[in-house]
């Protein structure tokens, strides 16, 4: 097991290498560069000399091969460089936002599990009853409702209901404070976006739980458990759910990894300064250095989450053993 984990972690290196080359080339394929945007982003005249100086400074005039090697060497020596747009170190910019994004991703994933497992289970047990239809409607709605709309509705709902019940409207705070400095303040800010995204991402997991559980409930060993006279509760919890969990764990893992960099709209609506927003801004600014680092970060997270998912497989299913 230990060997396997080490092997998987070593595999991270070629994966990162491939991702690095790919994102490097793709970024360069987009016309224009950060200097043109910075100097002439508003549509004004660009001084060719200033442009040349800027490009020279940022190394944009070097041959592609040199730029690529520079990037790779710097990256693998953990020298991530400075943002081409703000000039601040990439590590600093990401560090500023990483905590918040990680916290939301964890909270949203937690919310999604807490919603999906019970709903999916009850929907499978009560298949084709009104409960099942209700749950399926809730989860379809989760998929269909755009997250920006849900976010706005949550904020409006908070404003209106606090106005109504407390007399003064209350809105989640908009300046971030870390969890350990001011937990109440932090949670009162982040719980809403976590719920909004958690609900959305619970939809797929709910449906997955329902369908795999339905499949498992038809298995022979569930019939054996029934023939033993066990309570339905024990049959579901002990015999069925564990077998049904593998695909659900996969889905939740992928969702978690996605949440780390993909919460662009939700961050916008709730006014959060997260990784997603930084990602979109740096792509828009053609900030090669920042974009590349962010892609590498997301790739690393994906690989690590996949590793965790694979380890969970082995925990859940004794037939799966790695060596």
């Amino acid at each position: 097991m230990y060997k396997y984990v080490v092997k998987r972690l070593l595999l991270l290196i070629p994966t990162l290498f491939g991702a690095a080359v790919l994102v490097f080339l793709l970024l360069r394929a987009v016309p224009g560069d950060v200097c043109q945007l910075r100097l002439g982003g508003g549509g004004e005249f660009i001084d060719p000399r200033a442009l040349a100086t800027c490009q020279e400074e940022l190394g944009l005039n070097d041959p592609l091969s040199i730029q690529l090697v520079d990037f790779l060497v710097n990256f693998f020596t953990f020298n991530f460089g400075e943002s081409m747009w703000t000039g601040r170190p990439v590590a600093y910019e990401i560090g500023l936002r990483f905590e918040l994004s990680l916290q939301i991703a964890i909270m949203a994933t937690f919310a999604s599990i807490v919603i999906a497992l019970p709903l999916g289970t009850i929907s499978a047990i009560k298949q084709n009853t009104w409960i099942d239809y209700l749950v399926r409607t809730i989860s379809i709605a989760g998929l269909a409702i755009p997250s920006f709309w849900l976010g706005i509705i949550i904020i409006l709902g908070l404003l209106i209901s606090t106005q109504h019940y407390l007399g003064t409207p209350w809105m989640p705070p908009i300046d971030y404070r870390p969890l350990w400095e001011d937990p109440g303040y932090n949670l009162s800010m982040l719980i809403w976006p976590a719920l909004a995204t958690g609900y959305r991402y619970s939809a797929v997991a709910t449906r997955m739980t329902r369908s795999t559980l339905l499949e498992v409930l038809r298995e022979d060993y569930v019939r054996t458990a029934r023939a033993k006279g066990l309570l339905e509760k024990m049959i579901i919890n002990r015999h069925a759910l564990r077998n049904a969990m593998l695909p659900v764990v996969t889905i939740i893992g992928i969702e978690f990894a996605f949440l780390m960099g993909g919460l662009v709209v939700t961050e916008q609506v709730f006014n959060l300064n997260g990784i997603g927003k930084l990602f979109v801004e740096s792509v828009g600014n053609q900030d090669y250095v920042m974009t590349q680092s962010l892609v590498m970060l997301v790739v690393t997270i994906f690989v690590l989450v996949n590793l965790v998912v694979d380890i969970l497989y082995a925990v859940l299913d004794p037939r799966i053993r790695y060596s």
Partner: protein
């Protein structure tokens, strides 16, 4: 009073293709300590009849629509869900066909063995574990302490079926229902498992219903035999009678289709021609008629009742007397 009395049991499946009359009014009894076989080809309703006893038929699409199953003075079909749960595994144990899929792959053998006694008899973990060791010893599993922590995929098919038997016997039930317990096993293992089941039921005084399509099993291990065809019992009697003095053309055909050691190797097998009928379209006639060599006019009119053809021996055929006479002539 018999241990188990099945009376006019009817189980049907409601499907889009129509209502399947899987079990169509069967009656039989099982005395204490007795081994009763239910034989028949695939799809004749024998497994469904076994599952119906513990009300394990998947609903939907299946439903027990009529009859009575008397067990220890109660009608199993009228028990509440929690009452039937107390019978399952506690008073009636069940062994299934596929040992490969009938054990839960993610739970250890120990967990699966102990949960029945913990649930039904309120044993503590330790006591349940020692009971499990005892059971594994009893069913001939080597090195029980080690096996307890293993998972089903560590065990061979025969071993798994032994675990299934141990599970079924865990609460010292009065009756074991074995649904094709050896079908999925190698021939050599089959004999071992059957021998084990026979010995254990005899030792412990447990009655057993054994569902099988294997007439060899019937001959060796059963006291009495019910032959099923298209959802009905068409012949019943002692193993001796059914095997040596069949009175129904189907039983006769089944026996003739089995290779026998006491016959010449060159003798051709005589299969039962044709297909079993579609259980959604049964009319009132004898369902074996299309495949029957003895079919006559009368067989298309009505389904023959089970009638006595000897002591404790009944068959549902209009011409059972002639068959008897014919067999005697050959002999």
């Amino acid at each position: 009073m018999a241990l188990l009395e099945i009376d006019e049991l009817k189980t049907q499946f409601f499907t889009s293709a129509g209502t399947v009359l899987a079990v169509d009014g069967i009656s039989y009894t099982v005395e204490e300590g007795e081994t009763v076989a239910v034989v028949g080809e695939s799809g004749c309703g024998k497994s469904v009849s076994a599952l119906s006893i513990l009300r394990l038929v998947a609903d939907p699409p299946g439903k027990i629509v009529g009859g009575r199953i008397g067990f220890m003075g109660r009608n199993l079909l009228e028990l509440s869900d929690s009452e039937i749960r107390d019978v399952r595994g506690r008073h009636i144990g069940m062994i299934f066909q596929e040992p490969m899929t009938s054990l839960n792959p993610v739970l250890s053998i120990g967990t699966q063995l102990t949960e029945t006694v913990i649930h039904h008899l309120g044993y503590s973990e330790e006591r349940a574990a020692s009971r499990s060791l005892e059971l594994m010893e009893m069913v001939g599993i080597s090195d029980p302490p080690r096996r307890l922590n293993q998972y089903p995929h560590h065990l061979s098919g025969g071993m798994r079926q032994r675990v299934m038997i141990a599970m079924a016997l865990a609460c010292e039930p009065k009756l074991i229902i074995a649904d094709e317990p050896t079908t999925a096993l190698d021939v050599t293992i089959q004999a071992q498992i059957l021998e084990l089941m026979k010995n254990l039921t005899r030792e412990l005084g447990v009655a057993m219903i054994i569902i099988t399509h294997n007439l060899g099993v019937v001959a060796r291990y059963a006291d009495r035999v019910n032959v099923m065809y298209a959802g009905k019992i068409i012949e019943e009697g002692s193993a001796e009678d059914v095997y040596h003095r069949p009175r129904h053309p189907y039983t006769l055909a089944l026996l003739n289709s089995v290779p026998r050691v006491d016959q010449q190797r060159s003798a051709k097998l005589d299969p039962v021609e044709g297909q079993p009928p579609d259980l959604t379209r049964l009319d009132g006639s004898c369902s074996f008629r299309p495949r029957c060599r003895y079919a006559q006019e009368q067989c298309a009119q009505s389904f023959p009742e089970l009638e006595s053809v000897g002591e404790g021996h009944r068959a549902a055929c209009f011409r059972s007397q002639e068959i008897a006479a014919g067999l005697e002539q050959v002999a």
